[in-house]
């Protein structure tokens, strides 16, 4: 909310000081919104399809810790199909992470999504020349693989990401929307109490830690 006020205030100030800049800013932001609206619904639909049709075991097998070289190829495939901005990949990558994709593969998906852009290659060649495009491509693909390896080496698992403290978890009943993901994914730790979730077993919840916190789509789970 505070951010929104800040943004509005800055736009307003710009409008007063430099109307031409204001118009440019509005048109740029409009362009970004347009781009977002053309990409996000597609990402949304694919996330729904994955949620409905692709069981967790398949994702773990294809993109999990032990997926090996096949996982690498799968990650590259997922990422390369996009032409959208990298932020469009975040919800999709996060969902795959929640379903068992490894740090390496998620990072590779993000990297591939950002730079490979198969649909955009022709465009790049047109403006910058085939040699430029080809060279960049040949250098970038191994780079993102290497980069993902380094990230995975430095951060071997998702759970060790942020919440190092071992505090007890709690569900904010006011924020909870009753989607049931926590209760179905971590059935030993959470359970549904009518329309909201609650911690069922302190120990089990503590063990799930960070994963449960990031799993909740509305952020109702946190360290008490």
């Amino acid at each position: 909310m505070r951010g929104v006020l800040l943004a509005v205030a800055l736009f307003f100030a710009t409008g007063l000081l430099q109307p031409a800049v204001f118009t440019d800013a509005v048109s740029r932001t409009g362009g970004y919104l347009f781009e977002m609206l053309t990409v996000m619904p597609l990402v949304f639909l694919f996330m729904v399809l994955i949620e409905v049709w692709v069981p967790r075991q398949t994702i773990v097998a294809a993109l999990g810790e032990r997926s090996g070289f096949r996982g690498l190829l799968a990650a590259l495939a997922v990422g390369s199909l996009s032409a959208g901005p990298i932020y469009a990949a975040f919800p999709l990558a996060a969902m795959l992470r929640d379903k068992g994709a490894s740090v390496f593969n998620v990072t590779l998906i993000l990297g591939a999504w950002a730079v490979i852009k198969v649909p955009m290659l022709a465009n790049e060649a047109r403006f910058l020349g085939g040699a430029f495009m080809g060279t960049r491509w040949i250098l970038t693909v191994p780079s993102i693989i290497l980069l993902s390896l380094v990230v995975a080496r430095l951060m071997p698992s998702w759970e060790t990401s942020d919440d190092r403290e071992d505090g007890p978890l709690a569900v904010d009943a006011g924020a909870c929307v009753g989607c049931g993901r926590c209760a179905s994914r971590f059935a030993d730790a959470f359970e549904m109490d009518g329309a909201v979730a609650r911690v069922r077993d302190e120990q089990a919840a503590r063990r799930q830690g960070g994963e449960a916190i990031t799993l909740c789509p509305v952020g109702a789970i946190s360290r008490a």
Binding site: Y32, I86, S143
Partner: protein, 158 residues
Amino acid sequence: MVTMVFWTAALGGLGISVVRRRSQTKEAFESVFRTMCSMAGGLLMVLALIGLVLAWVPPASITGVLVRAGTAGGTLVAALAGGITLIPAFAAFPLVGTFLEAGTGIVPASAFLTTLTMVGVATFPLESRTFGVRYALLRNALSFVFAVLIAVLMGVIL
């Protein structure tokens, strides 16, 4: 063209899902929708702010700086500018083309393009909220390093 293929596949898939697994599809729809909504707010703000920043300092305005700065300085400026900039891919290529035509070296021009796509200072808040601060820092910092390396190598090769 490619988007059409994706849309057809997505909508077709959705149709099948609604027919074969109706309630599951409905639940999935709601769940994904909530996730998207919680991300949307922060994202919209970032887009607005970046639009404003780039209106004040348009990427094209650094062309002069890039041409004058020489390889090392120019690469640094280009890499930093690319990191904070957020523009659609189809707009990025003509822009880099402009840099090259104006006399920017291959290395700074490539550095701008590689950091533009690989590093996201603008998207950092969203990324750290989704994957954790440590992860976001790691990925972006390493991407910056690799992006500059790629640019340097492009200068050597091309």
